[in-house]
Symmetry: C2
Subunit: 244 residues, 2 copies
């Protein structure tokens, strides 16, 4: 019954997909600084996509300050395709995934970003920006505060991502679904595997290989199979087709 | 700046909007039994809408067993408009709100249910079914596992509902948004007030009056105003236009 999706990775596409921009006890983007420096090596101008938060200028300023401390020369706030065309890398910041995706569709930015990244433009996503790297936003944790024209996202990787993954709380008396239950509901309706990224972890995609980076395991959910725990340093592709 | 939505309640429409079908320590629908008995007084046939869960037959069976113990003669699983036409009341069960709404649109059930309830058919919603009583599903907690054609819901009440409301956890180190932060994001993009229903509470709507029932307060969020705590027994309408 399980149909595995066709891999859509191109060879060149470098991606860094961060679960959360902050981790308890560390400053903004601190825990991912070595990976950000790695993917941005030789990059002069970063195009920043701020649409997941309401106050875009303040958000861009925060990212500009932080990336400048990582020796990035220029951070440009994305308004339309021109900023994508002239960038050496793109960074899609976190916030609300529905707000982010709606704005990208309305500004006709989905195709330019997708094409440039497929052509080799380095892509950094954090949280909502990481959600967009999968085929759809159907495994976001966010509230659907606005309605985008479609749930379809960039599809840079052939699996869904669930950022900020939270393990079930032992002894909780709350009757709402756990995160695991929500992802199982997704798999009742969809065949795409889901890589759940705990805070403090990220995925590095280089040369068709997706590597888990960080301080904790990822958890892989597939239709009709038990979830798998994936350790840091592992290649995600080796687990996508593992026996259930 | 704040525009209050036009009230859409008709006079006759009796609604019972339950935050969660279960409460810790009680069986299925136990805590709401007195209110369910009240709204179903004199009702012979209940049309049950099971689409929020995957296994519809098992879900209907569970509800049938429970409502029979409340002296309901007949529980019919809704398939299309015919079951709505012939019912004395409708019960929309909880589960995933996106799956529920998509199915209702696809089966062309939105208009028949809306019209019959506006005409006086008693409506019981639980969790996802409660979300649908507001103007949109934009304050659901659920994962968007499928894409409905629209986020527009029944609009029986002029405010959004957030069921299973959870207070922020003191001392949490998780960086994901709290429920309150998610609702504030909704209010950054929308003017409609949000009534957050903690588990163990429900709203009874009768004769244009919405009363909070249950063991805990509700929390009202409005654009540009501090949240208000509303005590059981209060009329929600008195708070919707209160000074911020």
């Amino acid at each position: 019954m399980r149909r595995l999706p066709v891999a859509v990775n191109s060879g060149a596409m470098p991606l860094l997909l961060i679960s959360s921009s902050s981790v308890h006890g560390y400053g903004y983007l601190d825990h991912s600084e070595p990976e950000i420096r790695r993917i941005l090596e030789g990059v002069r101008r970063v195009a920043f996509v701020p649409f997941a938060l309401k106050d875009r200028d303040a958000y861009t300023e925060k990212v500009r300050e932080r990336l400048t401390r990582m020796d990035v020369a220029e951070v440009v706030q994305v308004d339309g395709p021109a900023e994508i065309d002239s960038a050496d890398a793109v960074f899609v910041g976190g916030g609300n995934t529905f707000r982010l995706l709606k704005e990208l569709y309305e500004r006709k930015l989905m195709t330019p970003i997708r094409e440039r990244v497929r052509g080799g433009l380095p892509y950094i996503g954090s949280s909502a920006g990481t959600n967009l790297a999968g085929p759809t936003i159907k495994t976001t944790n966010d509230m659907p505060i606005v309605q985008p024209p479609s749930f379809e996202a960039f599809g840079f990787v052939p699996f869904q991502i669930n950022p900020h993954y939270l393990d079930p709380e032992p002894g909780s008396t709350h009757q709402g679904e756990t995160r695991e239950e929500r992802i199982r509901e997704f798999l009742e309706e969809n065949d795409t595997p889901v890589v759940a990224l705990r805070e403090g972890t990220m995925l590095r995609v280089e040369e068709q290989a997706t590597t888990l980076i960080g301080i904790r395991n990822a958890r892989l959910f597939r239709s009709g199979a038990y979830p798998l725990e994936i350790e840091p340093g592992s290649r995600i592709e080796e687990f996508l087709q593992a026996p259930g």
